[in-house]
């Protein structure tokens, strides 16, 4: 039976498998909008309006880089447009075509100039065109609001008030109700780099082991006593928020989205807290680039043009919760999750004490090790209770090595430097 089945199937299967698909679709390879629902909405609500056909393929970062690398090495390029975060472009910098000409065509778009500048990656030419942006905010269940410390305004909270809030909740409910995404795939390192450090030291690199940093770690250790210990397993805070394990949490807007979308009447969003130096926050920028030797550059340019149109930017916001990078009036009919998060995002970036800090720039392939410096410091100091000064000394020498190796000059909130960013 088996043998005859095989005999009948073989020729057809071989023929089928060798027939490569002959499609004129342009391939849009992206590290963003990976979760299934987002990928689906990206295809249905955003890309369906593009005339000419586009195949949206969200990829894990590992395969994303390997595939681009392989295509560049072999000279056979099949990918049309690449969508990735700002920090993901430097490692593939050599494989990218300049998009100066594309940017000229988009002159009427009113693209955010700071983001366009970022897209040059410190080089003379435009490496990517800004695509969309997001940030990290706080979310809370309405049940938690009754425990807010007296006199605290949720929209201009401080870290001291957050600590008291956490303490109050723990006392009242018997359980730690604060949550942070410190799991293996969580974005805790961004909290440390973009929120905690800037708020207490107005720096990420230069003042890594300053007096202020030591105070900061001591305070954060106290705060952590009111944090749910399961935080070291959380990757996306929307899950513990939805199942009630955690009432107040910090995360990326895209990773809180489901909580707001599913239970818009139960959750609120608010800006991250402020420290002694101000309210540190980190905008996240994604960009669009064209690989060197792309098969159909004209279509690639048309796709970038389409994606940066105001109406497509709004559609993208509705679909995956990333905010426009062009100057555009937000409509009133936004879905609940965007409405809830959008207000907090707005309040956060426009806060009078705001300290914007960028994702690491110019680190190249040292980016992952750079992140590790911060998450290791967190793990040692906060989770294992190691001596703050000793750990900061050790980690700062690792930091120095990384900065020296990559030669990266300072980025916000550190003051700009001529050479590699100094670590005091």
């Amino acid at each position: 039976m088996f043998a005859s089945f095989i005999r009948k199937m073989l020729p057809g299967l071989l023929l089928f498998s060798m027939a490569t698909s002959v499609m004129a679709e342009i391939v849009f390879y992206s590290t963003q909008a990976r979760p299934l629902e987002e990928a689906q909405r990206m295809r249905d609500q955003v890309l369906s309006g593009f005339s000419g056909g586009v195949k949206f393929l969200p990829q894990a970062t590992g395969t994303f880089f390997s595939r681009i690398d392989a295509e560049q090495q072999s000279g056979q390029v099949t990918l049309g447009v690449l969508g990735a975060l700002h920090g993901q472009f430097p490692p593939i910098g050599d494989g990218l075509d300049s998009v100066d000409d594309v940017l000229d065509e988009l002159a009427d778009r009113k693209l955010d100039t700071t983001l366009v500048e970022l897209g040059r990656l410190g080089s003379g030419q435009q490496v990517y065109v800004p695509w969309m942006q997001a940030t990290y905010i706080m979310a809370a269940h309405k049940k938690a609001l009754q425990y807010l410390p007296d006199g605290a305004d949720i929209n201009s909270l401080t870290y001291a008030e957050l600590t008291t809030w956490g303490k109050n909740m723990k006392q009242a409910t018997g359980q730690p109700r604060l949550g942070f995404p410190a799991g293996p795939k969580g974005l805790m390192h961004r909290f440390l780099q973009g929120y905690l450090y800037p708020s207490f030291t107005e720096s990420v690199v230069t003042r890594f082991r300053s007096e202020d940093a030591r105070t900061m770690w001591e305070r954060f250790k106290t705060l952590w006593e009111t944090v749910n210990p399961r935080s070291t397993a959380y990757n996306f805070m929307q899950e513990p928020l939805l199942n009630g394990e955690v009432w107040v949490a910090f995360d990326h807007t895209a990773r809180l989205k489901n909580a707001f979308a599913r239970k818009p009447d139960e959750f609120i969003a608010f800006p991250a807290p402020a420290g002694p130096k101000g309210r540190g926050f980190m905008p996240v920028v994604a960009g669009l680039a064209i690989p060197r030797g792309a098969p159909d550059r004209k279509s690639a340019v048309r796709l970038i043009d389409y994606l940066t149109r105001p109406e497509t930017q709004i559609a993208t916001l509705k679909a995956i919760g990333f905010y426009p990078v062009v100057d555009v009036e937000l409509p009133d009919d936004l879905p609940a999750d965007v409405r809830i998060a959008g207000q907090a995002v707005n309040r956060q970036s426009r806060a009078t004490d705001a300290i914007p800090s960028l994702l690491p720039v110019g680190l190249g392939d040292q980016g992952a090790i750079f992140n590790k410096v911060y998450s290791d410091a967190f793990r040692q100091i906060v989770l294992r209770g190691a001596d703050v000064e000793q750990i900061l000394n050790r980690q700062s020498s690792a930091l120095k090595r990384i900065i020296k190796k990559s030669g990266a000059p300072c980025w916000l909130p550190d003051k700009s430097s001529s050479g590699p960013c100094p670590v005091h």
Binding site: M9, L13, S21, S66, Q73, S74, T78, L79
Partner: protein, 272 residues
């Protein structure tokens, strides 16, 4: 079958281990199925119920998810090609190892295993470069070749010990009765070895079905189901993970169920 021991304590132990083993396999499958037909609220909610209200929303989401059907088809084609190639190449190699003496036989046996000594992420990049250059990139046969390479060591070694277990005398009798070497193999050895070959075929199928990394790098338009879903599933909400898990598991289950006859007779051979 003879009862081992015979005391009631042994019988209890036997029964208990049987139940535990069955639960070990069935409970996760049960949870997977129940949760993939529950509403998201039930999955996040507490307390859990043994019998949920059935809702097909999540499963339907997958059914309507653009490309799932095509990816599943690609996966099946790739897995079947892998299965055929590894049987067609692996069985003769196993037979040769079991029946003939030749120089470098031991070295050959080790070299067969060497293909598994390098992690795939290490091989994938140069492989992708070569595939792109020779035009195998983005084809199912290309992916199936890589999967065959992964499955082949097992096929060779499993069929090798399988043929060792079949007495050479049986073949020799067939020769004396006028069979050629090939006829003796086909009429005497093959029927005896069929269950074992089927088992290694199942293995090859599962290897191909589960492989993500190579499939993801080597394909763009013709992604397999795992390449298509697994990476995205990892970052999707819990209820989608359950449904996606079911979608990934189900076809492999159906396949194994279809060839179960051969698997059961494999145990028959082993205890004979």
């Amino acid at each position: 079958m003879k009862r081992v021991g015979g005391s009631s304590a042994m019988a209890w132990l036997f029964g208990a281990s049987l139940v535990i083993l069955c639960l070990w396999v069935l409970l996760p499958l049960y949870l997977l199925m129940v949760n993939s037909v529950s509403t998201p609220d039930q999955i996040h909610g507490w307390p859990k119920r043994l019998w949920p209200e059935i809702s097909f929303d999540t499963i339907l989401f997958f059914w309507n998810f653009q490309g799932v059907a095509q990816a599943m088809f690609n996966s099946i084609v790739t897995a079947v090609i892998t299965l055929l190639l590894s049987i067609l190449l692996g069985t003769p190699a196993g037979y040769g190892l079991a029946r003939f003496r030749f120089r470098g036989k031991n070295l050959f046996r080790i070299m067969v295993l060497m293909t598994r000594a390098f992690p795939l992420p290490l091989l994938a990049l140069p492989l992708a470069v070569v595939y792109l250059q020779i035009g195998l990139d983005d084809t199912l046969i290309g992916v199936a070749l890589v999967h065959t390479m992964l499955a082949l060591p097992f096929t060779v070694l499993v069929t090798f010990s399988l043929f060792l277990g079949i007495p050479r005398e049986l073949e020799e009798v067939a020769w004396t009765m006028g069979c050629t070497r090939w006829e003796a193999f086909r009429k005497v050895v093959l029927p005896l070895a069929a269950p074992g070959i089927a088992a290694s075929a199942v293995f090859a199928f599962v290897v191909s079905w589960n492989e993500v990394f190579a499939a993801a790098i080597l394909t763009v338009n013709n992604q397999t189901l795992t390449a298509f879903l697994v990476q995205s599933l990892d970052e999707s909400p819990v209820h989608l993970k359950f449904a996606g898990g079911l979608v990934l598991v189900l076809p492999a289950l159906v396949f194994i169920f279809a060839v179960r006859k051969y698997m059961f007779s494999l145990w028959g051979i082993a205890s004979r």
